[in-house]
């Protein structure tokens, strides 16, 4: 599996909690620059995949390679330092801190000045701090959050909180960005804006994005390749067109809706 040019490789990854196999023998290859979608019904194990990649869990079996090097078993902060950052399905901002601080915290891993520099306010610290503040401001600008710079994150409107999560993840200068249901709880207009934003981010920051999404429109609209999980198993992988017509996917995921539609139709 190695040396195939993939940025991220999951090689037969299994994650077992007691008797429950949340993820079962999952293999994925994500190429550099790609916008890859991971979909599946509720409880399919999508977020578990993210948690395994980011080091929240160590996989029970299998290996994860990032840029050709194994990252399974590393702690989450070490994975982040390798160049993988993420957002969370249930927003996890640093609520009491202002937006700029939220973004600055993610830039922490790139700080060059140490603890002693901070305490004694060396020129190195002053330079470093000014750079971090400037970069944070630029990112907020790009994400359309400039006006909220000084606002505590908890006071932002919901849609802006979602954006701030992405801005914060970008501040870690990732090469791989993991987005966990970024459109959850957004209205159709906000979702539309978010899709453009994700495409813009992909272009502008030259990174690779792995996206978990429930909203089929988002995934089908912007992802070039999609993998489908069901009960921890990968049941399909391919282009949006292939996924849409794959019988297994229709049965596992879309099937419910199709059946429901048919049922409603028959009843009427």
């Amino acid at each position: 599996m190695t040396g195939n040019g993939a940025l991220l490789t999951l090689d037969n990854v299994t994650m077992q909690f007691g008797g429950l196999k949340a993820v079962c023998d999952l293999s994925l290859d994500i190429a550099p620059g790609e916008l890859f979608g991971l979909i599946g019904p509720n409880g399919a194990g999508k977020t578990t995949v993210f948690n395994v990649i980011t080091g929240v869990y160590a996989p029970t079996a299998g290996q994860i390679l990032f840029e050709g090097k194994p990252i399974h078993g590393l702690k989450p902060h070490a994975v982040a330092r390798r160049g993988i950052t993420r957002t969370f399905q249930n927003i996890r901002l640093f609520g009491s801190r202002c937006c700029r601080d939220n973004v600055c915290i993610a830039g922490h891993q790139h700080a060059e000045a140490g603890l002693a520099d901070a305490v004694f306010r060396t020129p190195q610290f002053t330079r470093d701090e000014a750079r971090m503040q400037r970069e944070a401001r630029e990112l907020l600008e790009v994400m359309g959050l400039a006006q909220w710079e000084e606002t505590p994150a908890a006071d932002l409107p919901y849609g802006q909180q979602r954006r701030l999560e992405i801005a914060r993840a970008l501040a870690g200068r990732p090469r791989l960005l993991l987005l966990d249901e970024p459109a959850a709880g957004l209205n159709p207009l906000e979702t539309e804006e978010l899709m453009h934003l994700i495409e813009e981010v992909l272009r502008r920051f030259h990174l690779t994005i792995l996206l978990i999404e429930h909203d089929m429109r988002v995934v089908m609209g912007i992802c070039r390749r999609i993998a489908v999980l069901d009960y921890g198993l990968k049941i399909a992988e391919g282009t949006p067109a292939e996924i849409r017509t794959n019988p297994k996917v229709i049965e596992a995921y879309l099937g419910e809706e199709v059946e429901a539609d048919l049922g409603a139709g028959a009843g009427a």
Binding site: H77, R86, F88, R92, S96, I105
Partner: protein, 327 residues
């Protein structure tokens, strides 16, 4: 260069205050001022652990005790001799005492910091109430150990510590802990601590080494608690295990909470207020502690976020207020 000017200015100011204080006020007031200063060091150092990082430690008296007894032993067994030798060599007493006192304070702080490291380790696995119980246990273990070690006086207490600590040293301790806390708070390291308080999982996912920072908060907090203990020992000239009970830890927590979690100036204000309050209430005699508790309750009801919330008292704030008043 700017640093050197500030350092020299602070030393001159502290020396002047140290000179003026006993000449302007009676010994009672001087003692209250000294205790205020020691409590400020304790409150700000605990704020680093409880307020900044959001770890609930109630063992601060334990760190203070280690610093107090550690520094006292250093002075009794070595420092006194050095000071005497320096004095015999014709160096003025204040200077001859300064070196050994500094060594004792730093030594006591270092011992407390090592204890902070050891107590900080369980904090990686425990949080909230569970961590509180571990730190509570730690504080009690330290006190009971001291009570049973004959070499440090046991229950009789430890007399014979030279009273070298004056306002200069307490002031220097205060300035140091405030400076460290403020400079941390406005740096990437302080932001990492606040991030851990707000959401540990997110902090870790964004590359903050939460393990290191949680222990670091304990180590720095414990160090300054140890320094405060050392000052306490070298001011009162006598130590007793009863000074370091669980109630002392609670008193410091009350200062941090009343001042506002994460606010350095809040901790300073609250430490001064809560040290002065029992003294000011002396005229009501038997009802003193009732009044004290009542005032605490009223303060917490009217300002549940603490005196300062999470904000700081800054010069900019005064300037803004003045500008608003002028407009």
């Amino acid at each position: 260069m700017k640093h050197a000017v500030w350092l020299a200015g602070s030393i001159v100011a502290l020396l002047a205050l140290n000179f003026a204080l006993p000449r302007l006020f009676n010994p009672y007031i001087v003692q209250v001022v000294m205790l205020c200063g020691i409590n400020v060091i304790l409150a700000v150092s605990l704020n680093l652990i409880n307020g900044f990082t959001g770890q609930f430690s109630i063992g601060h008296a334990g760190f203070m005790a280690i610093g107090a007894y550690g520094s006292a032993m250093i002075t009794i067994h070595a420092g006194k001799g050095w000071a005497a030798a320096l004095g015999a060599a014709g160096i003025p007493a204040a200077l001859a005492q300064a070196g050994p006192l500094l060594v004792a304070l730093l030594g006591g702080g270092l011992l407390a910091a090592i204890a902070g490291y050891l107590v900080g380790l369980p904090s990686l696995r425990l949080r909230g109430d569970y961590l509180a119980i571990v730190t509570l246990g730690f504080g009690e273990i330290i006190r009971v150990l001291i009570l049973n070690i004959d070499a440090v006086g046991g229950a009789r207490g430890l007399p014979g510590i030279p009273g070298w600590a004056n306002f200069f040293w307490v002031g220097a301790g205060m300035l140091s802990v405030i400076l460290v806390a403020r400079h941390l708070a406005t740096s990437t390291h302080g932001r990492a601590l606040f991030a851990i308080r707000d959401d540990e999982v997110a902090a870790e996912a964004l590359g903050v080494d939460t393990t290191t920072y949680k222990v670091l908060a304990f180590v720095i907090g414990a160090f300054f608690a140890g320094v405060a203990g050392g000052l306490f020992a070298h001011y009162l000239s006598y130590l007793n295990p009863n000074s370091f009970t669980f109630l002392k830890s609670i008193e410091v927590i009350a200062m941090v909470v009343l001042g506002g979690m994460g606010s350095v100036s809040g901790s300073v204000l609250a430490a001064i207020l809560l040290t002065l309050l029992p003294e000011l209430l002396r005229p009501v005699k038997d009802y003193r502690m009732v009044m004290y508790s009542l005032m605490l309750i009223i303060l917490m009801i009217t300002r549940p976020q603490g005196l300062m919330g999470s904000r700081e008292l800054t010069l900019a704030m005064f300037r803004r207020r003045r500008a608003a008043a002028a407009a």
